[in-house]
């Protein structure tokens, strides 16, 4: 185990003050830029601010750039910009990056948007609107030269290479992954914006769903989505003067497996970056995993969530199957997971939707999915073959 970082870092210095999101869609005529701008403007307004108040933009790791976002929104003075290149771990990593910039006094109102045409542009449709700029990541070189030629076309095929080892080494039953899929789907039934709203799922249906590539069944994979979401982060002090209850960033961290640009040559392929990040984040926040009232865990694939729960410290390696049993991760259970439906059932918004949902929960504005009286929760990110990020959030902390 890594040495715990006990420095205060950026603990309690910054807070989420605004959230915005588009609809979660299968097909749209909007460009990525349009969706990202719409979500950004919604977040700025939700914070009770205007674009002229924004002084930093942390863009997503592809598709759209900070300067066009600033130009279209009319942000006159961008004092700081940075872009964590971590795929699905980028949103939460940007949240901690914003907290650092605010703690250092480099910026005061930080916009973090993300969005994509994950359904429309990545499908070979004749009328698809192509992406002007691709998602950018070095691991695509490794994929191109060593994985893709073997019929391993995209994320489910790459990740299956190590998830099958997890299943076989620890005898992980499919019902454990099914528990993740079912919790997300159950929570999506409470969320009219979720793509799987009105489409409940049973364990029998989950187990009967066809394999894409073992161990991943169709229902182990998240949904392809057109969407965007954004948050506004500001100083804890300024957040107190804004319309909503501040959602304070107690702590956070990122972590990366060695080596970060490929998947199968790590000492143990099951080592996630989150395993390194989690103790750093909990140390900074001064809380324990068991203190959490909800968990918004990056869920590109169900089995990845099981590994993340272990990396967070809720179970030993190979032991998450016990943790997710008996409704423990469903609303009403001890650790409600992905109360909006997650990437699995609300939509794939690169985990920004997890941050939006964590904020709603801690504002006590989560509607029928509200975790009653919640004060503390976490969000995680996972991406680019294992990068990890985590933020620990508190109501008015």
């Amino acid at each position: 185990m890594m040495v715990q970082n006990r420095s205060k870092g950026f603990a309690r210095q910054a807070a989420i003050a605004g959230i915005g999101e588009t609809a979660y869609m299968r097909g749209t005529d909007q460009s990525i830029l349009q969706m990202v701008l719409a979500a950004s403007m919604a977040a700025i307004k939700d914070a009770g601010l205007t674009p002229k108040d924004v002084d930093a933009v942390l863009p997503p790791p592809g598709f759209v750039a900070w300067d066009e976002i600033a130009a279209h929104l009319g942000i006159p003075d961008v004092r700081y910009t940075a872009c964590p290149q971590m795929g699905g771990a980028s949103s939460t990593a940007a949240l901690t990056t914003a907290a650092m910039a605010i703690t250092m006094g480099v910026a005061e109102v930080v916009l973090i948007p993300i969005g994509w045409n994950g359904y429309s542009a990545l499908r070979p449709r004749p009328d698809a609107r192509p992406n002007k700029r691709r998602f950018s990541a070095a691991f695509f070189e490794v994929v191109k030269n060593y994985y893709a030629p073997y019929g391993l076309r995209s994320a489910p095929w790459w990740y299956s290479l190590y998830l099958q080892r997890y299943v076989k080494q620890y005898d992980v039953p499919p019902e454990a992954a099914g528990a993740i899929a079912l919790a997300c789907r159950k929570h999506a039934q409470l969320n009219p914006s979720a793509m799987m709203h009105g489409r409940p799922l049973t364990m029998d249906e989950y187990l009967a769903s066809p394999f894409v590539t073992e161990p991943l069944r169709k229902h182990d994979c998240c949904v392809e989505t057109d969407c965007a979401a954004a948050v506004i982060v500001t100083s804890a002090e300024r957040a107190r003067d804004l319309p909503h209850v501040p959602v304070t960033i107690l702590g956070g961290a990122e972590g990366h497996p060695n080596r970060p640009d490929e998947l199968i040559n790590r000492a143990d392929v099951l080592d996630l970056g989150l395993e390194l990040a989690a103790p750093r984040a909990f140390g900074m926040a001064g809380v324990k995993p068991q203190d959490m009232h909800f968990l918004q865990v990056y869920d590109c694939f169900t089995y990845v969530v099981l590994l993340e729960l272990e990396a967070l410290g809720f179970a030993e390696r190979g032991g998450a199957a016990e943790f997710v049993k008996d409704g423990n991760i469903e609303l009403g259970g001890k650790y409600p997971l992905n109360t909006h439906g997650g990437l699995m059932s609300q939509g794939h918004c690169w985990g920004m939707n997890h941050i939006v949902e964590a904020t709603r929960q801690l504002r006590h504005e989560a509607g029928p999915a509200q975790v009653q009286g919640c004060e503390l929760g976490l969000v995680t990110g996972y991406g680019d073959l294992g990068d990890g990020s985590i933020a620990i959030l508190a109501r008015n902390g």
Binding site: K144, R153, L161
Partner: protein, 159 residues
């Protein structure tokens, strides 16, 4: 092991060999940097070659400009023994790629080489039901271009 985790016993052929219908590996990348050096060494030798540190002897894949153990920038690409064990694998039951659709379900193996590094290889002569962690295999290369080869994993019956 739960029943539901077992692959359906729908092997392409009884012995697990790819069915007729041409080679599935139609994607031939054009590597650059050290990746093309790796593949050119392999093509020249007609067998898998792996980067080896000239200073400390560490084998590394994919190749790196500095040895991850000792930071030396000096290396060669000598032939590997080809002996390996199954470290992980997947059985693909779905594909959108025409060349692979003809071969469903296909087995792709993460092979842990005797020298240490792991590589991806397509299974040949190994049925989906027969794969297991630690199973001895041999890695065979098939040249696809002057700059690229694919690797097959075959059962290794020799002790």
């Amino acid at each position: 092991m739960s029943e539901a985790n077992k692959a359906p016993s729908k092997a392409a052929t009884p012995d697990g060999a790819p069915p007729p219908g041409g080679t599935p590996h139609v994607l031939v990348p054009r590597p650059d940097e050290l990746d093309v050096e790796f593949y050119r060494a392999t093509v020249a030798a007609g067998r898998l070659c792996i980067q080896r540190c000239s200073a400390c002897g560490t084998w590394t894949h994919p190749a790196r400009y500095y040895c991850p153990e000792c930071s030396s920038p000096d290396f060669t690409f000598p032939p590997a023994s080809g002996r390996a064990k199954v470290y992980s694998w997947t059985v693909s039951h779905f594909s959108v790629e025409p060349s692979w659709k003809a071969h469903l379900p296909y087995v792709t193996i993460v092979a842990e080489l005797e020298e240490g590094p792991r590589i991806v290889a397509s299974a040949r002569g190994i049925a989906p039901d027969a794969v297991a962690l630690g199973m001895p295999i041999r890695i065979v290369s098939e040249t696809k271009s002057p700059d690229f080869a694919v690797f097959w994993a075959e059962p290794d019956s020799q002790p």
